[in-house]
């Protein structure tokens, strides 16, 4: 009895301690002594086999594997990297890259040449490749290497400049690896110690804990990075990443927006990407409206257009923007498109306000017309996940469940791995689920090929109109014609309530102001946070 009361007293003391909060402030790491800069990440699918990895997980390759074309950290514009210049044929089917001379692979694997580009591409089109841009790379009919420093991609269809640049920059997945290493050591060599050409060399990983990179003293640019080592430390819990920052155990971390206010109040510094590069939409399973599609189930609840409309107008986007995103985002009028995208229609904004305005009463009416009501509630699952730079999924899922509850819909939120969700919609298994997905910007045609076209990897929404219209886009190299076709696709997607567009926003990270003075990165890189070599430390 006395022991139990003592335990109660101790417990109450602990409660009081937490209630009055801690007094952590950013750790007092001295910049002059920072030999290893540590970035805390929510984690990623850990593997060096980049052709099997989703684009957000390419964060782990940023320090050591470069791409043919670089990305300006402020504007996102293509800049020379492993290729110094490039051109295309008039029909946009042939793309020629002139490679930089004298670039050496890490660990003594020799000079970078056109053979390495061919080899790297071959990995993306392997049988086991699940690369996001795999469908694009598989349309390469032939690759030619007229000499050691020139490589030509011959595509089956025209590839317009935005899509090509997207694919060969840091936003894409063509990571340049050493053919010499592969020939000597095979995939095991790549798993153990991959050789790249980047500002850092791969130093090893402890699965589930961290990856270490060492500064490359002989980078082809001649630039010297301000610190010797870089570590990506895996900390899946958001509160843990904040605590690590405050204690000084890590110097940079990405945090969900819920913690931004607290982080700023405690003196941490926020850096954001130069560009608004991510959009978040909610995708609805079962949307395979192609005649004769074997997996299409006309009775699946989410395939009814009235249901899709109801689910869209039941959401108060302004309120969600203010609360879940703390005001740090902009409304997305349509998934995928920004004003600079091919086919952008300025009327989409006014159409959005007309078609998608918050109206829960109308949503209930639409559900009633679709056959759902108090005696027969609409039921489905909302699958949520967390990935690097994508912490808001669970908060969005929970918020949607709250809005849907108000209109009588029973939506069950479940946590899943990203890999499971991706497999589900890639294999047409996503019938009764919806999932919020934060996706990095890409050219509109690339996005449609990926998400709205049956021959792409990902099956979000497909129908006969999209198949036919996008088929024409693929064959066209006339800018005006393409613009018209792409606009028609956008009009169609918006009118059909193909998915639930929500917001565009920038990528943001927090840093210890006593260590990190400046950090500039564009945002559209596959792993979002990039350009670690440009980080300036406090002097």
């Amino acid at each position: 009895m006395k022991l139990k009361l003592a335990s109660l007293f101790t417990g109450l003391l602990m409660v009081l301690a937490v209630m009055f909060g801690t007094v952590l402030t950013p750790g007092s790491a001295d910049a002059a002594q920072v030999k290893r800069l540590i970035f805390a990440s929510a984690g990623f699918h850990e593997s060096n086999r980049f052709w099997t990895i989703a684009r957000p997980d390419h964060l782990q390759y940023e320090p050591y594997w470069e791409t043919l074309v670089g990305m300006d950290p402020k504007t996102g514009d293509p800049i020379p990297q492993l290729a110094t210049k490039w051109e295309h044929s008039p029909d946009f089917k042939d793309w020629t890259f002139h490679l930089r001379k004298g670039v050496q692979f890490h660990y003594g694997y020799g000079e970078f040449t056109s053979a390495d580009v061919v080899h790297s591409h071959s990995l993306l089109v392997r049988k086991d490749s699940t690369a996001t841009l795999g469908p694009l790379w598989r349309t390469v009919e032939k690759m030619e290497t007229p000499d050691k420093y020139t490589v030509v991609f011959r595509f089956k269809n025209p590839i317009m400049p935005p899509s090509m640049m997207f694919a060969v920059q840091r936003s894409g997945d063509l990571r340049i690896t050493s053919k010499a290493q592969w020939d000597k050591e095979g995939v095991e060599g790549l798993d153990r110690r991959p050789a790249g050409t980047g500002y850092f060399m791969y130093g090893g990983r402890q699965t589930g804990l961290n990856i270490l990179f060492k500064r490359n003293p002989k980078h082809w640019s001649g630039r010297k990075v301000e610190y010797e080592e870089l570590e990506f430390r895996i900390a899946r819990e958001e509160a843990t990443r904040l605590a690590l920052l405050l204690s000084g155990d890590v110097h940079i971390a990405d945090l969900p927006r819920e913690l931004h206010k607290d982080a700023l109040a405690r003196g941490l510094k926020r850096f954001q990407s130069s560009l608004a590069v991510d959009w978040v939409s909610v995708y609805l399973g079962g949307q395979w409206h192609i005649t004769g599609h074997k997996q299409f189930d006309p009775k699946a609840p989410l395939v009814n257009k009235k249901v899709r409309q109801a689910l869209n107008i039941a959401i108060d986007r302004e309120e969600m923007l203010r609360t879940v995103f703390a005001g740090r985002a902009e409304l997305a009028y349509l998934s995928l498109w920004i004003p600079a995208s091919e086919g952008w229609n300025p009327k989409w904004e006014s159409k959005f306000k007309e078609l998608y305005a918050y109206n829960p009463e109308k949503a209930k009416q639409l559900l009633k017309e679709a056959g759902y009501g108090p005696g027969n509630p609409l039921k489905f699952q909302i699958w949520v996940f967390v990935e690097p730079g994508e912490s808001e999924g669970p908060a969005i899922g929970d918020a949607l469940a709250i809005y849907y509850k108000r209109i009588g819909v029973e939506a069950e939120v479940q946590n899943h791995d990203w890999a499971k969700i991706r497999t589900t919609y890639r294999k047409y298994l996503s019938k009764n689920i919806m999932w919020p997905n934060i996706i990095g910007w890409r050219p509109a045609d690339n996005g449609i090929q990926n998400f709205y076209y049956s021959k792409g990897n990902n099956h979000h929404y497909e129908d006969n109109f999209l198949e036919e219209t996008f088929g024409k886009v693929l064959k066209s190299n006339d800018a005006k014609e393409r613009d018209t076709l792409m606009r028609a696709i956008g009009d169609h997607l918006q009118a059909e309530y193909a998915d639930i567009p929500l917001f565009w926003f920038r990528n943001e990270v927090f840093a210890n102001p006593k260590v990190v003075a400046d950090m500039v990165y564009p945002g559209p890189a596959a792993g979002r946070t990039s350009h670690f070599e440009l980080i300036k430390l406090v002097k």
Partner: protein, 299 residues
């Protein structure tokens, strides 16, 4: 002859009827009972009438409202709101219902299974006893969390999964206790007389032995309610228990863990509810054990 002192001259704590009353009160664990009734039983039974709001419904504009006694707090949400604007007090009240339901079902079903198997094992002995006891050993050595995670990965989180995991873990204790008691009781004379009188094995086990084991089972069950509530909360906290939207105390603690510094109330109040309930149940269990069957002091 000594003169009796008038009650009017005694201090209040020495007045005879006060002393007698206090002696009666001390016989029962009133403090623990009071906590239990107000934190668990009344909320669980009368949740729809007691809770001020719907526990599943929230308004994002009200998210993270602090408790009423803090700046920004409101009488509308006495204990504040969570990150989806749901009233914390209402969710704690409904959470009592969830916790009590899950634990009572798990203990009841696990108890029945364990008691029956324990009676059979202790009564028949031999190979039957050996087999059942090996199953008990296996059950007791199963890693709780791992089992729950595997089930959730296979079929998704649900009431069924949580109750199944708890039953798998609980029955063995009842089996072992019942077996031990049965081994002792079956050697007594009245059992032998029953056999001579022609009573069947089933009759002997359930009419003669079981009533003598019942007290011990009641004590064990009472002590286990707190343990089961804690276990269910742990599983829900880890995401291997009840679905996210359910107002389960463990789920509520998990929801607020990344906000522990900025919005401490989200995790703190459900955590307090767990602590008070488990403590009260343990104190009552101790009292019951002391009064019903002191032999069980090692439980």
């Amino acid at each position: 002859m000594p003169q009796l002192t008038s009650t009017r001259t005694l201090p209040w704590y020495a007045i005879p009827w006060v002393v007698d009353g206090w002696r009666q009160v001390k016989r029962y664990p009133l403090f623990s009972l009071a906590i239990l009734i107000f934190v668990l039983v009344i909320p669980a039974m009368f949740a729809p009438w007691v809770a001020p709001h719907d526990p599943y419904l929230g308004f994002l504009s009200n998210r993270l409202t602090p408790p009423v006694w803090q700046d920004g707090g409101t009488m509308e949400h006495i204990l504040g709101t969570d990150k989806l604007g749901r009233d914390i007090l209402s969710r704690i009240i409904y959470g009592a219902r969830v916790s009590l339901t899950v634990s009572l079902i798990a203990i009841f079903v696990g108890g029945i299974i364990g008691t029956v198997l324990g009676l059979i094992s202790g009564y028949f002995g031999g190979k039957t006893d050996a087999v059942i006891m090996r199953l008990v050993d296996i059950s007791l050595s199963l890693p709780t969390i791992l089992l729950a995670l595997v089930l959730v990965a296979a079929v998704g989180p649900s009431f069924g999964v949580v109750i199944t995991v708890l039953i798998v873990l609980l029955w063995a204790r009842y089996a072992r206790l019942t077996r031990g008691e049965t081994l002792a009781i079956k050697e007594l004379d009245f059992i032998a007389r029953g056999r001579v009188a022609g009573a069947s094995h089933t009759r002997i086990m359930f009419k003669y032995i079981f009533p003598n084991v019942f007290n011990s089972l009641v004590v064990l069950a009472t002590l286990q309610v707190g343990y089961v509530i804690l276990l269910e909360s742990t599983l829900s906290f880890l995401g291997a228990g009840l679905p996210r939207a359910e107002p389960a105390w463990g789920v509520m603690v998990a929801d607020g863990r990344e906000l522990i510094v900025t919005a401490w109330w989200v995790s703190m109040f459900p955590g307090l509810a767990i602590m008070l309930t488990v403590l009260a149940l343990n104190l009552i269990g101790d009292w019951l054990r002391d009064h019903l069957d002191p032999k069980l002091r090692n439980l």
